[in-house]
Symmetry: C2
Subunit: 225 residues, 2 copies
DNA sequence: CCGTAATTTAATGCATACATTAATTAATGC
DNA sequence: GCATTAATTAATGTATGCATTAAATTACGG
């Protein structure tokens, strides 16, 4: 599952986690609309925490609240994908550069390599879903290692927004072997402190991802996932 | 004023606009704490819309809600400034590149140049506050012209967060004459479609801004504005 | 006199009731 | 029969009250 409802304290947080999870897992369908009351009933709580959660999710781009038209799960269009990947293509390479400059800790190296191994294993087992999650974990942890909380939040939100599209195209794309080569090389550049190589490689890596996804979506007529 | 409360419909939006304005204008002091009830009374409404507004403002980094410790206006530290400017140094040059690549419309050119003129006039009149607002408008409009709504939102939030620091250091910095030279050159690069020059110039422009601000804050011992 | 536990206090989390207002339906006139 | 307007409906916006729980205070024991 994508954002499996973690054990949180308040109902607002529960609602946030659960709804986000349902949206990312495609259980709440894009373009579908719901009323506050429906969602509240669905989650077994009153409207208040649901409202607070949906307001949050709206500002993060997962849904749209139109006062008398209900709460609509936002589909992701090609334009959205392009906009998001364009920004990730700026932000993730910056993160790679930063980590390379500041130095990769032992712990950081272990963390990243564990994801690389997980991806290798997943590919071996032909488990594309496992691969996708390990890929996501790798990219997010690299960004987190850059130590800029605002950056982490933004990148995390964007990965959340494209999650459905990534999962939907998983079986349509070629096996991501080359991708994992990039990851290994990236870690080595980062570890050796070669920030320019790290930045450039990661930039190309992201550009490739964008091109591939946009082409896939175009050719398979998958607009509005 | 910074975020002068525009005429909005709902009380939640009113509360959001008003509080954001008060925070940016330094009327609600950084590090000060308030209770939901206090703010509600202050704004002449019940706790509900105040809660919704403060949740929003928290997720945008303007304040922090700690359940039994009140709502604290977040001060901005040097580390915050560095993190924010590092990201703006990636994002704004990208915007400049994008606009240069896609082409600057007649309207866009007029818009940007109007801000440049406003800055010139402000400098002539020694009105640093007017200059600061025109500078902000220039940078934000350039980003908007890139046509990536997510980018605009992020950059706007960041400028909001550093607003207090910029205003506080306004009289401490040298007169920003060179800055406006940059703006003129940038517009000309963008208009001529020279995206590499536009990107590079804007990148340097942002780097300089970062260095200057961070140095000022350090030397004047202005941590936690 | 100090530290721990029980009690009190009060702020938030949440539910609910009500007010408001937009959408829908009905009604009226042309 | 159609269009315009009034009446109705229902969903959201907001206020409020209660429950919960953390902080503060007091009381008690060592």
């Amino acid at each position: 599952m994508a954002g499996s409802a973690r054990k949180t304290d308040t109902r607002t947080q529960q609602a946030y986690q659960t709804l986000k999870g349902l949206i990312m897992d495609n259980a709440l369908k894009p373009s579908a609309s719901y009323l506050e009351t429906e969602l509240a009933e669905m989650l077994g709580m009153s409207r208040t925490p649901v409202r607070e959660a949906t307001l949050q999710l709206e500002s993060e781009g997962f849904l749209s609240i139109r006062p008398r038209h209900g709460i609509t799960i936002l589909p992701i269009s090609i334009e959205d994908m392009q906009d998001i990947y364009d920004l990730l293509t700026e932000l993730e390479p910056y993160a790679a550069e930063k980590v390379a400059r500041d130095g990769l800790s032992e712990h950081g190296h272990t963390l990243l390599m564990s994801h690389v191994s997980a991806m290798d294993a997943a590919l071996q087992a032909n488990d594309l879903i496992a691969w996708a999650y390990a890929d996501e974990a790798f990219h997010m942890d690299l960004v987190r290692l850059a130590g800029n909380a605002r950056l982490s939040k933004i990148v995390s939100t964007f990965w959340g927004q494209v999650h459905r599209a990534r999962m939907a195209t998983l079986t349509l794309r070629p096996k991501p072997v080359r991708s994992n080569e990039d990851h290994r090389r990236l870690v080595s550049f980062v570890q050796s402190g070669d920030w320019q190589a790290a930045r450039n490689l990661h930039r190309e890596h992201r550009k490739n991802a964008k091109t591939m996804l946009v082409d896939l979506i175009t050719h398979h007529n998958l607009n509005h996932l």
